[in-house]
């Protein structure tokens, strides 16, 4: 495991992916579970942020990073095995006013797993997440938290963190809130200070540490909320539309970070998130649930390798007639939503169709194979 870290981080440093290198070094030092190493990683991160504008990386930073990497490589880490966290079996929910019903849905989440829940607005994603978090009473089925020995919802809610789409307002300084969250999870004194500093660096919040709710943007509020719940060391992290308030770079960063954090060696956890950013979620998720009108219509984990049709998204200046001329009319259907075409073929794979279009010099500005993506259900 150490070698994987080392080679990965070395590669980032070599190719000047300093931000990623710093984040992974922070993770590695936390996994090694030595406070002095974590402190060094925090200092390295601070050096990085001080010289961030220097694309080449300052010698001070590169030397410090290499020194720390050397120390990390000398440590041994035992990777924990994945364990089942929550087993959801046939959970259904109907609101008392009868407006909406979530049909029975089953899935499981283990440590290190990321489960993406996708679907159009108002189709039951938030309801499912709230049932999973113990916020909403279920009508049938069961949610079994296998790792929680103490019975009762208080223990469940202590272990399962839920970040709603609209983050509740907090008061006081950002840093004080983080100290508080760590303290109520039993992280005290020097360890509390260290973990808060770690989390501030890890989520790029250090410069906002002494800011209040009104002084930070919604994107940073999301980051803060993630930092806050992570300090409470949950075994399952549930996020409702965490990407909604983030810019495109931040979305990628947060998803990557969630991936790394889920697979943390010191404190592995399961992550469940809902989002409209299908492709981004699919990239990091181990399983994706597609919810439509309250029913789970598709789970990527259950997908079959043999598919009945191939689907691609295409953005081009060419017209529908040009596309029909190139791809033929047989076994191909073309839909246009005003922005891009969705082409479905039972005869040709997405790659074949792309080759045909390129060979006929059709000008393509965007292409994505969604044969295995939940995106194809969005009609």
């Amino acid at each position: 495991m150490v070698h994987q870290f080392v080679s990965e981080i070395s590669s980032y440093l070599q190719h000047q992916d300093y931000s990623l290198a710093v984040r992974r070094l922070l993770d590695a030092c936390l996994d090694i579970n030595k406070p002095e190493l974590v402190q060094k990683a925090i200092e390295l991160s601070r050096i990085y942020y001080r010289q961030k504008d220097n694309e080449q990386g300052s010698p001070e930073f590169i030397n410090a990073a290499n020194d720390l990497l050397k120390e990390v490589s000398s440590e041994t880490i035992i990777t924990p095995s994945s364990e089942l966290l929550v087993d959801v079996n046939g959970v259904s929910k109907t609101y008392s006013n009868g407006n909406f019903t979530l049909s029975p849905v089953s899935f499981a989440v283990s440590t290190g797993d990321i489960l993406g829940v996708v679907g159009e607005n108002g189709n039951g994603k938030t309801t499912l997440l709230r049932c999973l978090a113990g916020q909403l009473a279920i009508d049938s089925g069961s949610v079994h938290h296998t790792q929680i020995r103490e019975p009762g919802y208080y223990a469940i809610k202590h272990q399962v963190a839920f970040i709603p789409q609209r983050i509740p307002r907090w008061y006081g300084l950002l840093k004080d809130n983080l100290h508080f969250s760590a303290a109520i999870a039993g992280v005290h004194d020097d360890e509390n200070e260290l973990m808060v500093n770690f989390m501030l660096e890890r989520l790029g919040l250090t410069r906002y540490a002494n800011f209040t709710w009104n002084q930070i943007s919604s994107g940073y509020r999301t980051r803060f909320e993630i930092a806050r719940v992570l300090l409470q060391k949950p075994s399952l992290l549930i996020l409702d539309e965490p990407l909604a308030n983030l810019d495109i770079n931040a979305q990628q960063t947060i998803l990557t970070d969630l991936r790394f954090m889920a697979k943390s060696i010191k404190h592995p956890m399961g992550v469940v998130l809902s989002s409209q950013q299908l492709h981004e979620v699919e990239k990091v998720a181990d399983n994706v649930l597609f919810i439509k009108r309250g029913s789970c219509v598709f789970q990527t984990k259950e997908k079959t390798e043999t598919v009945k049709s191939y689907v691609l998204e295409l953005e081009t200046v060419a017209g529908r007639d040009d596309l029909v001329r190139v791809l033929g009319e047989d076994n191909v259907s073309i839909q246009f939503n005003g922005g891009f075409y969705t082409i479905t073929s039972t005869a040709h794979s997405a790659q074949d169709m792309l080759n045909k279009l390129v060979s006929r010099q059709v000008n393509i500005t965007y292409f994505r194979d969604i044969t295995y993506s939940t995106k194809r259900f969005f009609n």
């Binding site: 008392s96 049932c131 113990g134 916020q135 909403l136 009473a137 279920i138 009762g152 919802y153 208080y154 469940i156 809610k157 202590h158 907090w170 008061y171 006081g172 004080d176 809130n177 100290h179 508080f180 969250s181 760590a182 303290a183 109520i184 999870a185 039993g186 005290h188 004194d189 509390n192 200070e193 409470q232």
Partner: protein
């Protein structure tokens, strides 16, 4: 501008990182600022221009202090909204509920106590300005000097009443009669032995004119300056009219003109409005109104109302804290603190919706119960009966929480009421017990045992109050914290 002192900042950080339950109650800052503010109120009410001889302005000060207490309470509540370990599902031990309640109680008590500081300060100031011995000595001096100056004009005729022992058993009892002797009305009374003994004990002079007949003499009133409870608290004995008579009037001395000056000094000591200059120069003749009662005349002549009123104001402030007032004040402070701290506890352990619905339900139930009691013409024991009935109902509702799978507003309200009513339960039971005893003894032939049966009533009420508080603490540490934990964490429907 940062007002927080550095030691408090360090303490704040230390508690935040190590004791989040204590930190989130703000015991450190609310406690320190609360005590600091109490000292500030004491300081301002101490240095404020408030002459002990003047009428007390304490009600304005108390109103101001109550407003400040309310502001302080609201300010603390705003800070309490910010962090809540319980609602964040942090590590919450069984003792944490009691611990937080103890903090809320202490802080509320500090804030409530602000309203009591101005009257205490006023009493301290009055005590510092005039000691009881000094007052007693001055009252004696003034009364003697006035009596000396007016020795020729004061009434010296003692009232004399004849008392004959009445024998109720033999039926020797006649109507009391009044005998007009010259300008005074003297009485002729029949009294039983107890009454007669009492009369004899407090008589200024007695003349026994038969085996069962006495003439009791009562000295005219020479207490031109009233005592206003000074005698109770002073080591210096306050002279009675009889004492003054013996000292001054029994053997009259020629009037020393210097007495006016001495009296003037004493008068100005007790009333800055009093014209000592006029007094020292002698009293004008038009004050010598022979036809008026000598006390009225002398009071007008020396403007004694002013002196009496000043001494009254001083003693009002000095002797404000008698046992009854102190007991009432302690009860007011305790029950205000208890109710406010319970409201804070409930607010911190329940949802906002359930909290406000509980308040509303409380108002509705109070109105409903009052109307029902009024219309049904129940006796005094109706309220305790209703209380017990409600307590049982809320106990049953709260018990449903153990098997609930959904968070319900009804069970939350039931639990909130149960917690609020707990400290009053022993008191209500004691009230019911004594009500039933009263029915049994007072309105029956056993009324003679009444005093014996009720001799510990007050003590039992006090013990019930203490017991109620202890019961609340015990239940908070055991059942109630468990119920709140379970109820709050339940999923919603």
């Amino acid at each position: 501008m940062e007002l927080k002192p550095s030691f408090l900042k360090h303490l704040d950080k230390y508690l935040l990182k190590n004791f989040p339950v204590s930190w989130s109650s703000r015991i450190h800052s609310a406690g320190l600022y609360g005590i600091g503010f109490a000292i500030l109120i004491f300081f301002f009410s101490f240095i404020a221009p408030n002459d002990p001889r003047n009428r007390s302005t304490i009600y304005y000060w108390i109103t101001l202090a109550i407003i400040l207490s309310l502001l302080g309470f609201v300010f603390w509540m705003i800070y309490l909204l910010r962090f809540n370990v319980f609602k964040r599902y942090g590590l919450w031990k069984a003792t944490d509920t009691v611990k937080t309640y103890a903090f809320y109680f202490i802080i509320t008590l500090i804030i409530v106590s602000w309203a009591f500081i101005p009257p205490i300060t006023e009493s301290i100031r009055a005590n510092m300005a005039y000691s009881s011995n000094e007052l007693a000595k001055d009252i004696n001096d003034m009364n003697i000097k006035i009596c000396q100056l007016e020795s020729e004009s004061v009434n010296t005729r003692f009232r004399r009443d004849t008392f004959q022992l009445a024998n109720y058993i033999t039926g020797m009892q006649r109507k009391n009669s009044m005998i007009d002797v010259s300008e005074e009305i003297y009485g002729y009374y029949f009294a039983d032995s107890a009454n007669l003994n009492s009369k004899l004990k407090y008589a200024d002079s007695v003349n026994k004119i038969g085996d069962d007949m006495y003439v009791i003499y009562e000295c005219p009133d020479y207490m031109f300056i009233e005592e206003y409870e000074v005698n109770t608290f002073s080591d210096v004995k306050l002279l009675s009219s009889m004492d003054i008579y013996r000292r001054v009037l029994k053997n009259k001395q020629p009037v020393d003109p210097g007495l006016y000056k001495d009296l003037g000094v004493l008068f100005t000591k007790y009333s800055k409005l009093h014209s000592a200059l006029t007094l020292s120069a002698g009293i004008p003749d038009y004050y010598n109104r022979a036809n008026e009662n000598y006390k009225v005349r002398i009071s007008d002549k020396y403007d004694l109302d002013l002196i009496n009123s000043s001494i009254n104001h001083i003693t009002d402030k000095k002797y404000r804290w008698d046992s009854l007032t102190t007991e009432i004040s302690i009860h007011v402070a305790y029950y205000f603190t208890l109710m406010l701290s319970l409201l804070v506890l409930i607010y911190r352990h329940t949802t906002r919706k359930t909290f406000f619905l509980s308040l509303l339900a409380g108002v509705v139930l109070t109105i409903f119960t009052s109307i029902f009691i009024a219309l049904s013409r129940h006796t005094g024991s109706a309220f305790p009966m209703w209380f017990i009935a409600y307590f049982v109902i809320f106990l049953v509702i709260s018990a449903f929480i153990f098997n609930s799978t959904k968070r319900s507003v009804i069970t939350g309200i039931g639990l909130n009421f149960l917690v609020t009513m707990t400290p009053f339960l022993p008191l209500v039971i004691t009230t019911m017990y004594y009500d039933s005893l009263r029915e049994r003894y007072l309105y029956s032939s056993r009324w003679t045992e009444y005093d014996h049966v009720f001799k510990n009533e007050t003590l039992h009420y006090r013990l019930s109050e203490v017991g109620g508080f202890l019961l609340l603490i015990i239940l908070l540490a055991t059942v109630y914290q468990m119920l709140y934990k379970k109820w709050y964490s339940l999923p919603e429907d």
